[in-house]
């Protein structure tokens, strides 16, 4: 087997990928080049997320609302942050609408409090990408659409669920004391806010991935290429 060393090229397009480097490449049986082993995997474990929170009211908030399609005319995710929830925040003339996301008291919030079926609609990763670039590091809500949940987890944004009563209480706390620091603890599955503790739920596979620093699946998927090739050879198509 020929061993190839490659110099990682840093590109601002996907800085989180830098964590996956450096790696060693080998020639696999079929001749395709494949990273067989990561000598260093420094994706950080995500055990806790702390920060101030902003409520984003409403159920079934869809991905077109999170990032309108007209802002997806781009070949990188770079500039998406400023367009997160654009039509929710601004009217047709670019004037700010009345919405918590426009209130100075919530400036710098890194946790969003959301309703049920958040992120429904399109599979566009532009949605969680824009939220991340907008400064969002975690979501607390009633429930999430499946693709959005997976896309967010892959970016290291935990989407945790609480019951309606808890959400209501958290919104009340944040509305009356926006300076309150919320702490999401994935190890203990608890949210702490203003001295109170609330239970949270999150799909175990996502929790496991975040805690074990394997929330970006690529490293895992590349671990044993021979197994992939076995399946490829077994299949009767393409």
């Amino acid at each position: 087997m020929a061993h190839l060393e490659r110099e990682p090229v840093f590109n601002h397009r996907s800085s989180r990928l830098f964590h996956l480097l450096p790696m060693i490449f080998v020639e696999s049986r079929t001749g395709s080049r494949f990273a067989a082993r990561f000598t260093m995997n420094t994706l950080p474990a995500i055990k806790q997320v702390s920060g101030r929170a902003v409520p984003v009211p409403g159920d079934d908030v869809d991905t077109d609302r999170i990032i309108p399609a007209r802002f997806m005319k781009c070949v990188t995710f770079d500039g998406l942050g400023e367009f997160a929830f654009y039509d929710v925040r601004f009217d047709g003339d670019g004037n700010k609408k009345k919405h918590p996301l426009n209130e100075a008291r919530f400036d710098g919030a890194s946790i969003m409090l959301v309703g049920s079926n958040f992120g429904c609609g399109s599979s566009r990763e532009h949605a969680p990408q824009s939220l991340h670039k907008f400064g969002v590091r975690a979501l607390i809500g009633l429930s999430y659409a499946e693709i959005f949940f997976g896309n967010s987890t892959t970016l290291g944004i935990p989407c945790v669920s609480v019951d309606e009563k808890t959400l209501h209480t958290l919104v009340e706390i944040v509305e009356s004391h926006p300076e309150t620091e919320l702490k999401i603890d994935l190890e203990t599955k608890k949210i702490t806010a203003a001295g109170n503790e609330f239970p949270l739920t999150i799909a175990e596979s996502a929790r496991e991935g975040l805690l074990s620093a394997e929330w970006d699946a690529l490293a895992l998927l590349m671990k044993d290429p021979a197994d992939i090739e076995t399946v490829a050879e077994r299949l009767h198509y393409v």
């Binding site: 490659r6 990682p8 090229v9 840093f10 590109n11 397009r13 996907s14 990928l17 830098f18 480097l21 490449f25 395709s32 080049r33 990273a35 409403g58 159920d59 079934d60 869809d62 077109d64 609302r65 309108p68 399609a69 070949v75 990188t76 039509d87 047709g92 049920s116 079926n117 429904c120 609609g121 399109s122 599979s123 566009r124 532009h126 659409a145 499946e146 693709i147 896309n151 892959t154 799909a203 175990e204 596979s205 496991e208 074990s212 394997e214 970006d216 699946a217 690529l218 895992l220 998927l221 590349m222 044993d224 290429p225 197994d227 992939i228 399946v231 490829a232 299949l235 009767h236 198509y237």
Partner: protein
Amino acid sequence: MLLNLTIMGKTLFHKVWEDHAVRKLPNGQTQLFIGTHLIHEVTSPQAFGMLGDLGLSVKYPQRTFATVDHIVPTNETLEPYSDPLAQAMIEELRKNCADNDITFFDTNTGMQGVVHIVGPEQGITQPGTTIACGDSHTATHGAFGAIAFGIGTSQVRDVLATQSLALSELKVRRINVSGKLGPGVYAKDVILHIIRVLGVNGGLGYAYEYGGEVFDRFTMEERMTVCNMSIEGGARCGYVNPDQTTFDYLKGRPYSPKGAEWDTAVERWASFASDADAQYDDVYNIDAADIKPTVTWGINPAQAIFIDEKMPLLDELDSHDRATAQEAYEYMSLTEGAPIRGQKIDVAFIGSCTNGRLSDLEEVAQYVKGKKVSAHVKAIVVPGSQVVAKIAIEKGLDKIFSEAGFEWRAAGCSMCLAMNPDKLIGNQLCASSSNRNFKGRQGSPTGRTLLMSPVMVAAAAITGEVTDARELFNQTATIAAV
């Protein structure tokens, strides 16, 4: 008493899953081999960028197929396009495909179109396969008995680099539609009705298996319309078991197996169909006779009523539905308790991966022939692919539409999500054969969308208001005469 040790039958979903499973991952998910990967210009460039940053290459270039659909203008064909951002996106895809030896159904091939229309018509979409695409309407391909997932861009990267995805296994809900659909009731009405009764998040954690007499009789194109909108019901994928209709559709397509391989393939494909004694996690039964032409009135696809119903009163709804309905009435400028029928429209759009296929255009053309689009309505017909457009033109459908006052356009996603120049203006109300009625979906932040079948869109275009197509086109009589 004898112990019942019989092994229960399997669903297609589980058979395909097992066939493609690479291994169980530490977090409990499965590494699933993705046999066929489809890409387009919006969600793939960043994935190629990530690959480049990591110094990785495309592992199986022959398993990825590309086309350009979201941003292509439908009223100009010459490049450079007037929108430089659209031009940059098509060039990026062209370059990525050339650099990585990926087959690209470019605009000059005669095969370009909406990715979910191109895959099936080229015979790339086949039963018993796994398909992924950075697009939530990938469920369309489930019509062939494939397990087809919409994925995010990091997952596009994963498929390019490893031809696999980390996925959690889904539960399977069987949805039976028994009996016979009435005249003027279409596949689109069936899926809008399913979403209405099961909800926009009713499918969370499920794959939907559609079956029953209605699906047995459906053409492939009708099955695609239903599977297409599975995601609108919250289901990650939806499928129909492969049968003779599936095999007849695939026979002779460019990428379909040929010669002796064909018979082997059919035998193999048939074996993926769910066993008669398959175990489902849930079963839901619908009587086809209960479904009527359906129109959405709100801002999500479950906010729908039959054409002869009135929009719900807020007091009739539970607290969750009431809040969303209130938001919808405000946005849509519609009134609770009022009929949707008679609502004046501004724009009519026929097209999209839901309803932009040849059979959709043929069905509509027979009714609009000799009629005229209302003077105040802008009506456009956007064929789903260049192949659809070519055959439609050969059949003279373009002329029928043009003479009736519809604009005949080139292939693309167009006004379904308005990433090209086809957009609503201000708060225009659009009768649309597409799949989403989200706020701002059709390009104007205040634009409004009513989802319905293509024939209902045509009826609205002609009268200028939401209309019961069955009456306008005398469909009951037409069908009785056949």
